[in-house]
């Protein structure tokens, strides 16, 4: 279990460079690391004589000037973590918001995982952060009790002060620092966390974004904005085909471009790709434009290699075939083949979701400065620790000599949890012995990415005479993320836990399986990952079954989910990942699934007998999906015009993510998730020809624009359950809800995305 320790007691303050006293607290995971370690080590570079491996995941410092420094160790990419973490710590601490300083944590293992993906920041750190705050608060109260020689239970921390009601005495946190620094940290079992009704910030929807003013005045620093003295700019011509090689190149013309100072060939990539640079030719210049011009002037002959035969059209046919030959059994409940034989009728449908790419508004960028045997890096990375270890390995220095500063991220969506671009900057800075900023252009981002895997899925359901589903078969062929880490991996595994094997329907006989699919690009994870394709197939298919059964889609879904229960898929010949959580803490709870479904249908006036409440010509589609331990249902309201074009009129989202720590940011994530889903449903498609990605910018990889986006209503279910994920769970149900609405409006069932191929957008 994690434990909180008073660092200041152990004599580290003298290393911190504070002229006055400071109370420094850290949270530590004793289960992970056995021996105590200096918690403050990372705050200001210092040498800790008592070097151990007991490390905090987050900490706070209270200064004698009454300021409270709170470290945000997770990356900000729009989810609001730089606001939400301080909300949690400040609340339990009883800090005055105006006394807070938010400090962005360097990449360092002592924080626990900093890998900001998987919708995990609050899921994993809500409790430890509360304990860190509560522990400090109780020590300050104890310090005041000692100061005044009164019982501790008469002292109460309120807004950066401790008060003694009986004597009307008040002392500022800052004035208690010296005493508190000498106290022992309360045992975790003695910690008294605040009651819900006493929260000042947690659960409140009135907190301004910590970076709001910097953003609206152009003063926020993103990865692209980092500027070091004597820094040079680099853009790289990467092999157009994965693991392709430079056969020959001529840089004479490039070097003639005004501002170009060097051209450097990088090592070819040897698969597996992992987070290694892709190789190619780097052009170094005094500004970005010169570097881009120089790259355009390069004459490179590439050698494609084994992935040069990758063509999206024939690949799709191969995937379809592979679905019929599953080589991996992922879930087997009951006896599916017998059930199909007994079925009154069988409904079948195939679904297809193409390859997708993240397209954050800020492409990847990293600045590195190698000097004196160490390297300082500033990058828009979701994963500073992985960046650190990959850089250390690539340039051959110890990880502790790699300093990863995390800037704001201009969007991440999973792209920036792959630090290949950080390694590129590090290699170039070391080789050239100068600060280098590597910038990816939009074309680089789309053509040389880590792709959301193209996926073909076949579903069939056996219905009995009363239209009850007695058999469910779901097979899929898609290249696996594992292929990026293990060359030749050709079958999905853990991806099946993201919305496929955890299909929450009450069906006696279930089979899920996967066929083989060889990867020809770097397969990565993108916001919501394979929940996108699985929810699209499962929620579309459920709607098809409702139609086949002549039943209202919402009523049918409720019946399909069945009675209130916790589903344990592991008991049905499956290995269910559950997003790394236990089913005890985060059960797959059908009651919660049905609750969001019912509530969203109320929001949208979804009742067959209430159709009069909808504007004339408006039609609804519905879907529900659990992912990242949260539950989201969506209703999409559309209209169609005489030309057969559809218009999104309104989207309703209802989320149950357990305790809603920052409701305003939860709503903003649901709004954004719906729009992310509109983009992929309408336009999302990345294709390859002879191994080369055919798209390159927002003209051929469009994303939704303002005029295509309807009002989005979001409701959050009040819950005391542990907080689940927020950043990703909103995406999966929206695309199928759109397609279900289109079917309701037009009678046309679209089973292949994107929708713009049908001329209806």
């Amino acid at each position: 279990m994690n434990k909180i320790e008073n660092v200041s007691r152990r004599g580290f303050l003298k290393n911190l460079g504070f002229s006055s006293g400071a109370l420094v607290l850290g949270v530590q995971f004793s289960a992970l690391l056995p021996i105590p370690k200096a918690l403050a080590q990372g705050l200001i570079a210092t040498t800790d004589a008592n070097k151990t491996s007991f490390e905090p995941n987050v900490y706070l410092t209270i200064h004698s000037d009454n300021t409270v420094a709170i470290v945000v160790h997770r990356s900000e990419m729009g989810q609001g973590i730089r606001t939400t973490i301080p909300m949690i710590v400040a609340d339990e601490l009883e800090a005055d918001w105006q006394k807070i300083q938010v400090i962005q944590g360097l990449g360092d293992k002592k924080y626990g995982s900093q890998n900001t993906d998987g919708s995990r920041s609050i899921r994993h750190f809500y409790q430890p952060l509360r304990e860190a705050g509560a522990s400090a608060r109780m020590m300050l109260e104890q310090a005041a009790a000692e100061l005044w020689q009164v019982p501790i239970n008469e002292c109460q921390a309120i807004k950066n002060q401790v008060k003694h009601a009986k004597s009307n005495k008040i002392v500022a946190f800052g004035d208690l620092v010296a005493i508190a620094a000498k106290l022992a940290v309360p045992d975790k079992t003695k910690l008294v966390l605040k009651s819900k009704q006493d929260f000042r910030f947690i659960g409140k929807a009135n907190v301004a974004l910590v970076d709001g003013k910097d953003i609206v005045t152009g003063n926020a620093t993103f990865g692209f904005d980092v500027e070091l003295p004597n820094m040079r700019f680099a853009v790289i011509a990467r092999p157009p085909v994965l693991a392709g090689k430079v056969k020959s190149f001529n840089s004479d013309k490039a070097k003639k471009i005004n501002g170009v100072i060097d051209v450097i060939q990088l090592d070819d990539l040897t698969e597996p790709a992992i987070f290694k640079p892709l190789g190619g030719i780097a052009v170094i210049a005094t500004n970005t434009w010169a570097a881009i011009q120089g790259r355009d002037a390069l004459e490179v002959e590439w050698q494609a290699g084994e992935h040069g035969n990758y063509n999206s059209s024939s690949y799709k046919q191969a995937l379809a075939k592979s679905c019929d030959n599953p080589t991996a059994d992922l879930r087997q409940k009951g006896d599916v083949s017998a059930a199909f034989k007994n079925a009154n009728r069988v409904v079948k449908a195939d679904y297809f979701v193409p390859q997708l790419i993240h397209a954050p508004m800020e492409p990847p960028a990293a600045t590195a400065h190698f000097h004196d045997g160490i390297i300082d890096i500033w990058a828009c990375t979701q994963t500073p620790q992985s960046a650190q270890s990959n850089v250390a390995q690539a340039i051959g220095i110890a990880a502790e000599n790699v300093n990863i500063n995390v800037t704001l991220l201009g969007g991440g969506f999973g792209r920036k949890s792959k630090p290949d671009f950080v390694v590129e900057a590090a290699l170039l800075s070391k080789q050239l012995n100068m600060p280098i900023k590597v910038l990816w252009t939009r074309e680089d981002e789309i053509k040389n990415g880590y792709y959301h895997a193209v996926s073909y899925q076949k579903l069939s359901a056996g219905l009995d005479s009363s239209n009850k589903v007695i058999a469910w078969q779901h097979t899929e062929a898609a290249p696996t993320i594992s292929s990026t880490f293990s060359k030749g991996a050709d079958t999905i595994g853990f991806e099946a836990s993201l919305g496929m094997i955890d299909v929450p329907f009450d069906i006696a006989n279930v089979y899920c399986g996967a066929g083989k699919a060889t990867a020809h690009t770097r397969i990565g994870w993108m916001r919501s990952v394979t929940n996108i394709n699985h929810a699209f197939a499962v929620c579309s298919f459920a709607d098809e079954l409702a139609v086949a059964s002549k039943t209202d889609s919402k009523d049918y879904l409720l019946a399909l989910i069945g009675k209130d229960r916790h589903i344990d898929i592991n008991k049905e010949n499956a290995e269910y990942g559950n997003y790394g959580e236990t089913l005890d803490k985060f059960p797959l709870d059908t009651a919660r699934l049905k609750k969001v479904l019912t509530q969203v249908s109320n929001m949208a006036n979804w009742h067959s007998n209430d159709k009069g409440k909808l504007p004339n010509g408006h039609v609804l589609g519905i879907a529900v999906h659990r992912s990242f331990a949260s539950y989201v249902a969506s209703v999409v309201q559309i209209s169609t015009n005489a030309q057969g074009k559809i218009k999104l009129e309104r989207i309703y989202m209802c989320v149950d993510c357990g305790i809603a720590v920052n409701p305003e940011r939860i709503k903003s994530q649901m709004e954004g998730a719906a729009i992310f889903a509109i983009s992929l449903a309408f336009y999302g498609e990345v294709t390859a020809k002879a191994g080369v990605i055919e798209q390159g910018n927002f003209d051929d990889y469009p994303i939704a624009r303002m005029n295509e986006v309807p009002p989005i209503d979001v409701q959050i279910i009040a819950s005391d359950a542990p907080p689940g994920g927020v950043g990703e769970p909103g995406v999966p149900p929206v695309a199928p809800a759109i397609c279900n609405a289109i079917f309701a409006a037009t009678g046309k069932r679209y089973r292949e995305l994107p929708l713009n191929q049908y001329g209806i957008i």
Partner: protein, 185 residues
């Protein structure tokens, strides 16, 4: 030698005349508030004003600026107090924030031209500005709020701060490493 008037300040530029204004602003003159998103005038992240008109600085050669006055996000107001910047904060419009400089510059040009835009006017003026995080409804609401109009695209009962709260909630932010503070200087 090219003379540029940026946010009321005179600059001299003596490099490639074909360099797009975006890179002159960002790399040469260090106005990094203006962002790169596509390099082809497709996303609007690089929007600045030339004599009050919104343009995509990523596709405009610096030589084409001529005598026109350039306004970037840094020059939209003296202290972040443009009504749009205020509304953006009151509604917590940004998510990642990267596109918001361009969004604000497009919106500011719209309101300067059309102080009471309809929803269609807003869609028309703003549909060239992409936001991958999906903040469109709050952007629209922010424009309507700044224009003193009824907000239609977002339920402001869910979230809207008053100006005083924004000021009260302003807090210090520090980079972890002392050297990181030098990043902007």
């Amino acid at each position: 030698m090219i003379s540029l008037m940026i946010n009321g300040k005179q600059h001299h530029y003596n490099d490639d005349e074909n360099m797009p204004l975006l890179w002159v602003l960002r790399d040469i003159l260090k106005y990094t508030g203006t962002k790169y998103g596509c390099g082809k005038g497709l996303c609007g992240a690089c929007t600045v004003h030339l004599d009050g008109q919104p343009i995509r600085s990523c596709v405009m050669p610096v030589s084409a600026v001529g005598k026109q006055k350039i306004t970037t996000i840094e020059g939209l107001s003296n202290n972040g107090d443009h009504p749009l910047q205020q509304a953006w904060q009151q509604l917590n419009v940004p998510q990642c924030g990267y596109c918001q400089s361009g969004q604000l510059m497009s919106a500011a040009a719209l309101l300067a031209e059309n102080p009471k835009p309809t929803e269609q006017d807003i869609d028309l003026a703003m549909s060239g500005n992409l936001c991958r995080c999906g903040t469109y409804n709050r952007i629209k609401a922010g424009i309507q709020m700044a224009a003193g109009m009824k907000v239609t695209s977002f339920n402001i009962d869910d979230f809207a701060l008053d100006k005083q709260s924004i000021d009260e909630q302003a807090i210090d932010k520090l980079a972890m490493d002392a050297t990181a503070k030098g990043v902007k200087s």
